[in-house]
Symmetry: D2
Subunit: 281 residues, 4 copies
């Protein structure tokens, strides 16, 4: 990302937006490498992600020029944090965390893991192999409010951009969710909206499905109802008992969550109400 | 399938079943080509599909020998109808029917389409190109009971083995379903159990899913709750409006229904309560 | 595609192209719906496909304005034929042709099939069901040159935009290929460049591959070496004998060829030397 | 795998093999859980993998009974080593090794990694995090023979069942390969037999393919020509430059190699000449 400038815009749709934006960009000696736009016709909204080669001398000047050609209340971001900070929450299952931490170690996650918080200490030893702090915050023998407040305090001590729920198996209160609005990414172990709630593999097994799936999504107040970022599926058959279904599912969960993190790290995911726009390329 | 003998067995699980069955089979000079078995441990049930080279001289004698080594109440089928008869029900959408009829014409469906019934006449001309009868039975200006009874009578005049609901868009009454128990195969245009009921693509689009799917299943009284035979999915993204989502979905619907029909035609699908066992190979 | 204007441009890469183009477009009261661009950095080439809402009053005026902001020798197309004409060549296998003709019949192919030419008459009856002319041009008892010349003449009598080789199993001479440069689309029954040449499934079976594939490509002088448009694959295993491998392969061949045709019909495929740029969305 | 007995047989095909084997098995109070068989008709060979519940009291007695009902020269294995030992060879790329070592650490690899050997020391630190020995054996400034002999000696000091080439980028001599016949598993970074040899992604990029792949295979004298165990593919498009193609490819390489290892660990892969039989379920 050296010598590149990334511009994100969302605003009311209007005639001439591409023209106006590209003129301003050209004026600042930037060359557009890729421009991906999307018009949400239903809601009359325009979204664009523009990657340019060339460095800007003044962010303020470019911002001012861009805003001049955009409708009022446009949201413009120029070079949003390009190495975002992450705190990861886990319970006992290792598969998502292991993938995140090894990618982080080898520098292919495109984000900066700051710490891991677990309501059990199962994954402490593994986390510490990578010289990362592990905070064991147990939910036992205390109120939910107390438990969540300690997590909130611990998270806040790192000021992360995003909090990753990497198979964190406690249901979070609306208070917690609001605290980190648009910053909580969860992996749900089913193909949402199928099998909302607890034990999705048990539900899937009982229903006799021929495909299982996983969903990475932003967390909102409504459990498992937040904007979907990535989903994927895998074929199964009658011979999969519950245990084998879970094992197969873990591979998808891991891949889906990692992919979602990478897309968010690269500012390719834009919230649009209860949906996401994902500019993959 | 010439010179081959197919044996299907389901019974209580017990020690020595494979040994007993294979002895009986060897005694009748049949050579096992493939044997696929499944034990449902939860319900203590044994299922096997055995394909043998060699023709039997007496079905009765083999049946008697097989039953001798099986628990009481075993269900044994020897060479179930090997070219099953089908009646297809449609409404206006052509994609599933077109795939079925062209495969039928070129003899790759492994079943015999006898007739098409439509509650509109939209697909009459296409059906008749293939020299197959098309019965237009309108649902308009009459009671549901009356409408269904005419369909039942028409179907019964063909004595089909299976009735294929190839995008038949009327909800069937429990009476109709019971009439053709275990013989009704439907294509639902979503990845069940997500988006049960009407307008699944609308539901999927509103939810902002990143994958759409289709499900072929046997029909039971509970709408969209019958045993699943085949499912498949396809990635979509934010740029898919409702219309494009439907178009993409039709490709999956068609492929999933055709695959289900082929599996059923080859006696590879066995009902096990509200699930299916599918011996693909 | 009503009330829409499609603009395709390829030229040397330069600073300010998007700005220049979008200004000209805005000047003509067109609103950009989607703009997909690609810069081939290796060859310093710029490609863009711009779909606009709004109709142009003068193609010439828009063309002139666009060329004014583009480098010399730019190739600009405004509203290329939006219902392209096709002639289909076949031998004996029906699967690709059946898919093309049923889609054509139901108006979902986005192109106009004018005629089918077969070196056998196997598919004559099927073709004529759809009220399309079938030309039986046998290769037997005549020179290759003579055979090809008759095909060329027959094709030319229709002036098609593209010629689809839908499992046409004769090797075409360089003369034939040059005659229809950039207009011949072939389906090769392997995952190119694996298994170039004859009997790819035999080669694949002998090699013990675990995946088979198909490739739709433009035809050039070098057999099976032309620019690839679409490829897809399917898992197989040791239990697939040659015949079952071929049957499975046909499903991929059909899907891949149809997809390639649809992409070409919508002007989403742009030749770039021996590669293609495919703007899928 | 507690309380289970695994039986693998390969022999000339004959009538009554399943019957004979299942009788012997029943006689030893074992209950067949799954029996997967394959008949290679071309070569008249029979292969079977039988998993039974129940423990045998005498392997010798069962072996004797099984051989009594089998043709001469049958190869029978009863409970082959159920936790196989592995030595992993690497160069500089981490992705395959990281996946193997984290799975090993969390006990989901089904094999025992004993040591890692690298011709660079790039992955030493990572390996040692998991308390495994890393042997740095450089190829520089010495003969190939000398280099390979040191690797052979090091491998032999562990007596592993299999040697995994996890992106080991040195071409091995026939002498080395013969030393570990049928025990060397390699990951090739293309969809074999496409792009044999060096720089497959460069070749794939130059050819303009729309799908890339990876192949895990046993190594034989002929470079990249050994029996294929697992293959998988992923769609790419024109926008993938060489670097992005490599990055995408690494995900497939990793998944394919790990899957191949797991299948081999569970004795699901059987060599049959230059092909493999893989009993996945």
């Amino acid at each position: 990302m050296q010598n590149q400038t990334l511009i994100l815009v969302q605003c009311k749709d209007a005639v001439g937006l591409v023209s106006g934006l590209s003129n301003s960009i050209a004026k600042h000696q930037l060359n557009i490498i890729t421009m991906r736009e999307y018009v949400d016709e239903e809601n009359n909204k325009f979204f664009v992600r523009i990657l340019c080669s060339g460095l800007i001398t003044s962010t303020e000047a470019l911002l001012e020029d861009l805003c001049r050609v955009l409708p009022q209340n446009a949201k413009v971001q120029i070079n949003p944090t390009n190495r975002k900070k992450l705190v990861v929450l886990v319970t006992k299952e290792h598969h998502c965390l292991a993938d995140i931490l090894t990618r982080h170690y080898f520098n292919t996650l495109q984000g900066e893991v700051q710490a891991v918080i677990g309501n059990y200490d199962t994954l402490k030893e593994f986390t510490e192999k990578f010289d990362l702090p592990f905070h064991h915050i147990s939910h036992e023998n205390r109120s939910k409010n107390d438990f969540e407040q300690e997590i909130i305090n611990t998270i806040n001590s790192y000021s992360p951009d995003y909090i990753i729920l990497a198979k964190f198996m406690r249901i979070l209160s609306p208070n917690f969710v609001q605290h980190f609005e648009h910053r909580l990414i969860n992996i749900h172990h089913s193909f949402l909206p199928a099998f909302i709630g607890a034990n999705p593999y048990k539900q899937a097994h009982d229903r006799g499905v021929k495909i299982i799936g996983a969903t990475a999504h932003f967390v909102t107040d409504d459990l498992d109802e937040g904007p979907i970022i990535v989903q994927n599926t895998k074929s199964v058959d009658h011979s999969y008992d519950l245990s084998r279904m879970k094992t197969a599912g873990k591979e998808i969960e891991k891949a889906v969550l990692t992919r979602a993190i990478q897309l968010v790290m690269e500012d390719r995911v834009i919230l649009n109400g209860n949906k996401t726009i994902v500019f993959k390329s």
